[in-house]
Subunit: 139 residues, 2 copies
C-alpha cells in the first residue's frame, strides 16, 4: 500500500456532476442555488463540455459528453446523471501520477483538462469513488 | 422556480461517501490520500456513523449505516458504495429550510446532524444529486 510521508495532494479543486445537457442544468445551480457561473469550455481530448460554478471554497463542475465515445457518455448510460468524481489539486502533477498510478514519465495517465491544466484519474477508486487530480499543464 | 436575490448558501461543508464499513475504508483516505481524520461519531436519529477527514478547504465524510432502517442503508442496496451527497453550510438554517423545502417552522425537514449541528436535505435533487444544508443546531 502506498503510504505518504508528506502531504502530496492539495485541497479539493472541484466536485463533478455528470449531466446529459448542461444547458438544461445550468439554471438550477446558477439561479436557484445562487452559484456564480465562472467557466464553460470544451475539453476536446476527453470529449466533454465542462461548466464551472464557484461554491466559494470549491468549484462545482458539470460534465456533459459532447461525443458518443466520451468515457462519461458510457458512464451516464450505466449510472444516469449524478455525482461523478472529486478532484484534488496538486502542485506536483507528475509526482502525483507517479505515486498513485505508477507513471514513469508522469504522462501515461495525464490528459489536458479544464482551465488550461492537466489531470489524471487515480487507478484506485476507493468505495467506487472516482478521484481526479489536477495541476498545471504537463507538456 | 425559487430565485435568490442574495446568496443564502455558504460554501461547501462536506462531500459525503456512503460506505458499508467505515473501519475498512478509513485507512485509504487517511494513509494513502493523506487526509487527517478529524471526527468519528454516530448520529442516532439518522442511524449513521459519520467519519470526517479534513481535505483542507472541505471535509470528506464517510457515511456508514448503523441500523438496517437507516435511509443510507437502502441507498446502499440500490446504488452500492459511492459518492452520496454534497453539503453546503448556511448561517440561516431555518431560512434555508423555508426557502428550499417550504418549511413553515424550519423544523419539518431538519434533523440533528454531525458535529452538534442540524441539517436538512433539499427536496429537489438536480441531476439526481442529493444536496444537504447544515448549520447551527435548531432547537
Amino acid at each position: 500500500m502506498i503510504r505518504l510521508t508528506t502531504r502530496t495532494l492539495g485541497a479539493i479543486d472541484h466536485v463533478a456532476i455528470a449531466v446529459r445537457d448542461a444547458d438544461k442544468s445550468i439554471p438550477y445551480y446558477r439561479d436557484v442555488l445562487g452559484l456564480p457561473l465562472v467557466g464553460d469550455e470544451v475539453a476536446d481530448q476527453e470529449g466533454v463540455r465542462l461548466v464551472y460554478f464557484d461554491a466559494g471554497n470549491v468549484l462545482v463542475q458539470l460534465v456533459q459528453p459532447v461525443r458518443d465515445d466520451a468515457p462519461v457518455a458510457s458512464w451516464l448510460d450505466d449510472h444516469d446523471e449524478g455525482l461523478h468524481h472529486v478532484c484534488f489539486y496538486t502542485d506536483d502533477l507528475v509526482g502525483c501520477a507517479a505515486l498513485f498510478n505508477g507513471d514513469k514519465l508522469g504522462s501515461e495517465s495525464t490528459f489536458p483538462a479544464g482551465r488550461g491544466g492537466s489531470a489524471f484519474f487515480m487507478i484506485t477508486e476507493p468505495n467506487n469513488v472516482k478521484i481526479e487530480v489536477t495541476g498545471k499543464a504537463v507538456l
